[in-house]
């Protein structure tokens, strides 16, 4: 993940990149190889404690599924 002067936060991938918006950069940042999926969801639920925790869980899973389809995730 890097900060592009004209595109904002981007995730750099082989021969492509994904522009990250909203909570995207934070989710990517939390996928650090140490946290489990439950940790990532739990952290975001705590950080956005005004929002519906179930909605956060579903949004994180949907976002990670998109990354996975782009082959942007590795599991340790």
């Amino acid at each position: 993940m890097t900060q592009s002067a004209d595109l904002g936060p981007v995730l750099l991938l082989p021969e492509t990149m994904l522009r990250l918006t909203g909570p995207g950069p934070r989710i990517v940042e939390l996928c650090d190889g140490a946290r489990t999926l439950a940790d990532v969801i739990g952290t975001l639920q705590a950080e956005f404690n005004g929002a519906d925790p179930e909605m956060i869980r579903r949004e994180v899973l949907a976002f990670l599924a998109t990354l996975n389809e782009r082959r942007a995730l590795d599991y340790l």
Partner: protein
């Protein structure tokens, strides 16, 4: 209009142990004595990052022919760039692979010529296939993104399912099924390499099925030959709009083939700042916007999507770099492409190399005029 380059293709050398008949290098190559030094590339990577470049593609020739490849990876990384190494992998020993990954390499793209050794070696003009298989297994053990690139054409497309199976077996993250693009050496050999329409249709179906089956395990990108398209490709995303290439001698180009276009002077990083070359040099300005366009491009609603297609292809076929890309069905010169399709050699199962194709040569040690 303000354009930002997001990728830099660094052709760090034209030297290569392979002699592939579809090499994208220009016919007139740079000699070793002309190549930019380690320090010069390091400076250029910094200039590129300051311009907005995010991704660095180290290619050649064979980038590992340079003894400083590890240092180039490190310099790219230090400039904040995502570093991709595009390699044939020939002679890449474990210690050097380890050093490249330790230097910060993000992604390796290993090229294959076929799923079968004999045909692969015939295309490459040398014995290379077996060592690539060995290397692929070693790359997989490192923490680095791994793409298998397989170049496809008339003579190997029948084995596309086997090629995809090989990619699965090697557990790559990404597979690039790249149809030959007909420039450079490939243009010389197009009659022997151009697939049939039927092969192209089958390719699309096979790739779509594989994508569905391998979703989440392997990303598959597929590049088709534009000769069969209805509309031209947005070549390089538009001339000088998002991407630049620097050749071994430091000459900055909008694409691999641009030097074929006569009447343009391409500047080099030894004599001019990269920012000036990108933003102001006449060659980079030449095909930006639509002032240069002819009809039918100029009044076409697709002009902001495909930019009139490829300038090099327009020149190669019509002699006029301002013409509509002749692959476009709206081009008055489309018949030139249809004639190439009609004249392409009949699909042949023959394993004998054609008598009349041309293997890529290596640059001599004497600089070209």
């Amino acid at each position: 209009m303000n354009f930002v380059p997001h990728a830099l293709i660094a052709e760090v050398t034209h030297r290569c142990p392979l002699r592939c008949v579809y090499c994208s290098n220009p016919l007139e190559m740079r000699s070793r004595s002309e190549e930019l030094s380690t320090a010069e590339w390091q400076r250029v990577f910094g200039e590129a990052a300051a311009l907005g470049v995010l991704q660095l593609h180290l290619t050649g020739g064979e980038p590992l022919a340079r003894p400083d490849a590890e240092q180039l990876v490190k310099s790219g990384r230090e400039a904040g760039l995502y570093v991709n190494l595009i390699t044939s992998g020939i002679g890449l020993a474990e210690a050097r692979l380890d050093a490249l990954v330790s230097a910060g390499l993000d992604h390796v793209q290993l090229s294959f010529q076929d799923s079968e050794q004999e045909q692969a070696d015939q295309i490459a003009g040398t014995r290379a296939h077996a060592s690539k298989l060995d290397l692929a297994q070693r790359i997989r053990k490192h923490r680095v993104a791994f793409t298998m690139n397989i170049v496809v054409h008339r003579r190997n497309l029948a084995r596309l399912p086997e090629m995809i199976a090989l990619a699965e077996e090697l557990q790559v993250d990404r597979l690039e099924v790249a149809n030959v693009q007909y420039y450079g050496w490939a243009f010389e050999n197009r009659a022997e390499l151009l697939p049939t329409r039927e092969q192209v249709d089958q390719t699309i179906a096979i790739v779509d099925a594989a994508r569905e089956r391998l979703k989440g395990r392997m990303r598959i990108d597929c590049v088709l030959p534009d000769y069969y398209a209805r509309y031209p490709k947005a070549c390089m995303g538009g001339w000088g709009q998002g991407l630049m290439l620097i050749d071994p001698a430091g000459v900055v180009l909008p694409c691999h083939a641009a030097r074929v276009i006569p009447g343009l002077t391409f500047d080099d990083v030894r004599s001019k700042p990269l920012r000036w070359i990108w933003e102001e040099s006449p060659a980079f300005q030449r095909f930006r916007g639509d002032e240069w366009m002819q009809e039918p491009c100029r009044s076409c609603e697709r002009k902001t999507r495909d930019f009139g297609g490829c300038r090099c292809q327009a020149f190669l076929y019509t002699g006029d770099p301002d013409a509509t890309d002749p692959v476009c069905s709206l081009s008055p010169r489309r018949a030139l492409i249809d004639a190439v399709i009609a004249n392409a050699a009949p699909s042949s199962p023959s394993q004998i190399p054609p008598q009349n194709w041309v293997y890529r040569i290596n640059p001599s040690n004497v600089p070209a005029r």
